[in-house]
């Protein structure tokens, strides 16, 4: 193939591009000839390898792209090879663009160049004049997956668990060919699922078997001899012994696109541009030529790379990848004491969830206590039942289930805690009850046993006040459902010592949760902000704002759910209780809503029925008032309240920095990447400045 100079590549000055990002970890494209079996000839096999282990995956910055470009130029002119192959380093195929580049982009021309360079390099794999094969031996994300899609054929190793386009989550689109190639390969409906729906669903990724079933991979082989068998398969394809058949793509594109728009609207209400842009590109892929489609992708990338939402998303992604790993302000980890046995006070649902998590992750004995035999049996029985369910679903082996079941026991008395290293209470949210529980536990345990409370709003310091050893009391606040939500707020009370904090953080890490260290203060971070936010919305309803107006006022933010649905999830009674606690602490800012109280007193626990319609009786309780607000006013009020509350929390040093506020909201409340948690949004909309006089972050 001649050099594709006709594509107007004069823009591509390699020396300029490579100078942009001197710190790039370069993914090399190592070309090695392999003799294919069955007389299929020679394949030029390109290995992508950045010289690091799997913890630093292969990514593509400008120098890496140009390295691959050179490799592909070199093989394209050879007449002695039958095919080109592409594979990765152990455990990693490639995980896409080097995101650091996105942060360096300052102009639209530069942004456009990113898209064009990627296209220029990747598309060569489909335009070599000979077949190309991707052997997906490990994680293939974003641009890594696109690279595979540009090849004529793909095999995948059956142990691969990460095949995905996370771009839409990060404020981008798969703009190096993904939105054009994937729908034409597997149909628009499935492509939109992979490109749009999955990244917006906790960044869901495909396993090898799923990628194969969808038709993303043509063949799947065991990891033991994946590459050798892939090369054999490739040889059979080349000798026509194997014919690759792909399902014809003749679905109803309009319907698939319409469905994707509907689902995205349901989640985002237009709050983030990237998924919509991706849907548009997929919609256009049906009738576009490669040129048109790739140019449209370039334009989309250029727009999105300069968008506030991408900035916020990369900031949020970075928080979850780095700041979430080690709590800021954490004491020296070597101070942590080993935890070989855990006590859980209470045998309710929350306690049972906590007990199961401790048993699964720490694999140490976990004793539940309750004063009531029936409740205790129910609690332990619930944990054992959950373990049995995990085993039945094949999530854990029978022997592991037997081990876990044996680890979780119950006791009516607290003597069972005598040799425990960590006891957590999850009893009724009432100070007197919690203080009594801790006093009883203290009588049974060693002086260095950490006492943790799962309280969501009560003062940890007060809880510890009467104890002989208040220094070992920490707040350890889980979010519901315990197994799913990644955040623990670890609260340092006035007298908590460093060793207890270090132990709590080590336990949190062993539980595979992300800990944020917070000062003991009412409702810590997530509940305080959600309560303030909800309080303003409900306050508007109290004043006469119609339910529908208030409920949908925050839609344009693209939060995971509207305010009253969140209220239902939390439980109106719990929400009221937290609101009351906060009202007691900060009466000026946290009101207790009469309508919420009426709702709780009415005994209704749900606002929406199973049919997603508002319960009429509840609707009636929420009526009344004579100062209605518009949706815009409701939203503005709620956001300004958030800005005010965050500024106060930072002033009170509840957390170390705005980044921790955002991390808490992302991990504990599921607030979206496109808002960056919340402070980037408050900054970029000017709300922070208006309310507090300054931006939260520079």
């Amino acid at each position: 193939m001649p050099e594709p100079a006709d594509r107007g590549e004069q823009w591509l000055d390699e020396s300029v591009i490579t100078a942009l990002y001197p710190a790039e970890v370069v993914t090399k494209a190592l070309v090695r000839d392999v003799q294919l079996p069955y007389g299929a000839g020679t394949m030029a096999l390109i290995t992508l390898d950045n010289g690091h282990d799997y913890t630093r995956p292969n990514t593509f910055g400008p120098v890496s792209l140009i390295a691959l470009r050179h490799a592909l130029q070199e093989v394209a002119v050879r007449s002695d090879i039958a095919a080109v192959g592409l594979t990765g380093k152990p455990f990693i195929f490639a995980t896409g663009a080097d995101l650091a580049v996105a942060k360096l982009i300052e102009s639209r021309d530069q942004a456009l160049a990113v898209g064009r360079l990627g296209h220029d390099v990747f598309r060569r794999l489909g335009e070599l004049g000979m077949p190309s094969f991707a052997f997906v031996n490990g994680a293939a994300l974003g641009g890594g997956l696109e690279l595979a899609l540009h090849c004529s054929y793909r095999t995948i190793s059956s142990d691969v668990t990460a095949v995905a386009f996370p771009e839409c989550l990060l404020g981008l689109v798969p703009g190096w060919g993904g939105t054009y190639l994937l729908p034409r390969l597997i149909g628009p409906a499935q492509a939109l699922k992979v490109i749009v729906e999955n990244p917006l669903s906790q960044n869901r990724m495909l396993r090898a078997s799923e990628a194969h079933a969808l038709g993303i991979a043509d063949a799947i082989f065991d990891p033991a001899d994946f590459l050798a068998e892939s090369l054999r398969w490739a040889a059979r394809v080349l000798t026509a012994e194997v014919t690759v058949t792909r399902a014809a793509v003749e679905e109803n594109w309009d319907q698939a696109v319409g469905m994707a728009r509907f689902l995205t609207d349901g989640k985002l209400h237009g709050a983030a541009p990237a998924p919509y842009r991706a849907i548009e590109l997929v919609a256009a892929a049906r009738g576009s030529s490669r040129e048109e489609a790739f140019t449209a992708e370039d334009e989309a990338l250029a727009d999105l790379l300069l968008s506030d939402e991408m900035d916020a998303a990369l900031y949020a992604f970075d928080l979850t990848q780095k700041r979430a790993r080690k709590a800021v302000g954490a004491p020296d980890g070597s101070l942590a004491r080993p935890v070989t046995k855990v006590g859980v006070v209470g045998a309710g649902l929350m306690a049972a969830q906590i007990a199961l998590l401790f048993a699964r992750r720490l694999e140490v004995p976990v004793v539940l206590t309750d004063l009531d035999q029936t409740r205790l049996d129910a609690g332990v029985g619930h944990v054992h039942g959950e373990i049995a369910k995990l085993a039945a679903r094949g999530r854990i082996a029978p022997d592991a289930a037997a081990r876990l079941t044996g680890l979780v026991t119950g006791s009516l008395t607290k003597d069972a805690f005598a040799d425990a290293d960590f006891v957590i209470e999850a009893v009724f949210e009432e100070m007197g009850v919690k203080q009594r529980v801790f006093a009883e536990v203290e009588a049974a345990v060693r002086p260095d046993c950490v006492l943790a409370t799962n309280t969501s709003s009560l003062s940890v310091t007060e809880m510890a006040a009467e104890l002989a050893h208040p220094e070992r009391v920490v707040g350890f606040h889980f979010f519901n459902p315990v197994a799913m939500m990644p955040l623990i707020e670890v609260a340092r009370a006035a007298g908590t010592d460093e060793a207890s904090i270090a132990t709590a953080l080590a336990v949190g890490k062993a539980l595979k949760k992300n800990c944020v260290l917070v000062k003991d203060s009412p409702a810590f971070v997530v509940n305080r902000l959600l309560t303030r936010f909800l309080g303003e919305v409900i306050g508007c309803v109290d004043e006469g704002t119609p339910f529908d107006v208030a409920e949908h006022a925050t839609d344009p933010l693209g939060l995971p759910m509207p305010p009253f649905l969140l209220l239902q999830l939390v439980g109106p009674a719990v929400a009221l209780h937290v609101a009351e606690t906060l009202h007691a602490a900060y009466p000026d800012r946290f009101a207790t809503s009469p309508k919420l109280r009426a709702l709780v007193e009415s005994g209704h626990t749900a606002i929406y029925g199973p049919d997603f319609k508002v319960d009429e009786a509840v609707a009636a309780l929420l009526e009344g008032g004579d100062h209605p607000s518009t949706a815009e006013q409701v939203r503005e009020r709620a956001l300004e309240a958030l800005a005010e509350e965050i500024a106060l929390m930072l002033e009170e040093a509840v957390v170390a920095a705005p980044e921790d506020i955002d991390l808490c909201m992302i991990l504990g409340a599921g607030w979206p990447f496109h808002l960056g948690g919340i402070t980037p949004y408050l900054d970029r909309t000017g709300i922070a400045e208006k309310v507090t006089g300054a931006s939260f972050r520079p």
Binding site: L30, R32, P37, L45, T47, A224, D225, A228
Partner: protein
């Protein structure tokens, strides 16, 4: 209770291409256990008539059983290969005759009726496990003069053999070596070696992934002049050179053996029948003579003479040791019955794996010569041993 021994047949054998040991070798960055896993998986793939559950043993030899050849390599390779957990395995060692011993030991178990079918083979990554590394010979060997110091250096034992048989000159050894190279080249050209090679993906951090599809050691272009110019590293003015010896190599081999009735029941293609085998001990200083007594014993026990043997696969650790065997049995240096497709001098000798390579080639040669009834695989073994397996051709 009286019982009848069952006949054991060789069904199929495969091996990795052999590589040169060392930092620049084909397998420098490939694990030994991964190599034997490739072999086991290929055997299973090639013999779909055998459900893997029927395998009663995975017997894998390695001379050095540490590192990537440790962890009871037969069992760990079985697990890594994805065989059913119910299939047991073990590691076995008789130095160069490891894989041969894996076959004879597993065959004994099959003959006894304790096992229906087995995978037997060997692996040696001499790049990762250089000869003699991590061994700690008992000082008594030397203090009590149990062996001569030369007994532990294989090249020196080969020089010792030249001393014992002055008729075996350096020139004869070099000529034999050249013939081995030529025969391997011819066999490759005729496509006789390749069908039993399993391609192995090999990674190099510097060069990327590659695929091992052919033996790396052969030097088809070597000449008698080039061979004559080589140094004699084991003795000044000696006779043993890198050219008339097998090299230091990496490789793995394996075969599927089964009771003859089980093979028939499953429809497996039995290619040769194990008639008998024998191992013999000799002076460690001249370990290369080992195949002579081992073979004599086996022939005598079966009322056969060398005239009855139509094909001989003898391992070429050293040309001198092959020539000593041939002289003993009055066989010409260029007798077409002997290593017709060449031997270890050209192909390489990854110690514990070589025994099954001999069987793989014998089985193929039997198929080309249905008129031949009996064949031998035989080899010398370090510390003064020899092993011989007598096979009957089932292609008639």
């Amino acid at each position: 209770m009286p019982r009848t021994a069952r006949d054991v047949v060789f069904v199929d054998g495969v091996r990795t291409p052999f590589g040169k040991a060392g930092p620049n070798g084909l397998y420098a960055e490939t694990r030994a256990d991964d190599m034997i896993v490739s072999v086991i998986r290929e055997l299973v793939r090639r013999n779909p008539a055998l459900s893997p559950e029927r395998l009663g043993e995975v017997a894998i030899a390695a001379t050095t059983q540490t590192g990537d050849q440790g962890l009871t390599i037969g069992r760990s390779a079985a697990v890594l290969a994805g065989l059913p957990r119910s299939v047991p395995g073990y590691a076995i060692d008789r130095m160069c005759a490891g894989a041969m011993t894996a076959v004879t030991t597993a065959s004994g178990s099959i003959a006894l009726g304790a096992t229906d079918a087995a995978i037997a083979g060997g692996v040696e990554h001499m790049g990762h496990h250089p000869m003699g590394s991590a061994v700690d010979p008992n000082p008594r060997f030397l203090s009590e003069r149990l062996v001569d110091p030369s007994a532990l250096v294989m090249g020196s034992t080969a020089e010792n053999l030249h001393d014992r048989f002055p008729a075996i000159t350096r020139a004869r050894a070099d000529a034999y070596a050249l013939a081995s190279q030529r025969k391997v080249a011819a066999a490759y050209a005729a496509g006789r070696i390749q069908p039993d090679l399993v391609p192995v993906a090999v990674r190099s951090a510097e060069r990327g992934w590659g695929l091992a599809t052919a033996d790396e050691p052969p030097r088809p272009d070597t000449t008698i002049k080039a061979l004559a110019a080589l140094k004699t590293p084991f003795r000044p003015h000696g006779r043993v050179t890198a050219g008339n010896s097998a090299g230091l190599n990496d490789g793995a081999t394996g075969c599927l053996i089964a009771a003859q009735d089980v093979a028939a029941e499953l429809g497996l293609d039995a290619r040769m029948r194990l008639v008998d085998f024998g191992f013999a001990g000799v002076d460690p200083e001249v370990m290369g003579i080992g195949p002579v007594p081992a073979t004599e014993t086996v022939l005598a026990r079966n009322d056969l003479t060398m005239d009855d043997i139509g094909l001989i696969e003898i391992n070429e650790a050293f040309a001198v040791q092959v020539l000593a065997f041939l002289d003993h049995f009055k066989i010409d240096d260029d007798d077409p019955r002997v290593n017709p497709w060449g031997g270890a001098i050209a192909l390489g000798h990854p110690l514990a794996s070589s025994g099954v390579r001999l069987m793989i080639q014998l089985a193929r040669e039997f198929a080309e010569h249905p008129d031949v009834r009996y064949g031998l695989t035989t080899m010398c073994v370090g510390l003064g041993m020899g092993g011989t397996v007598l096979w009957e051709n089932l292609n008639a």
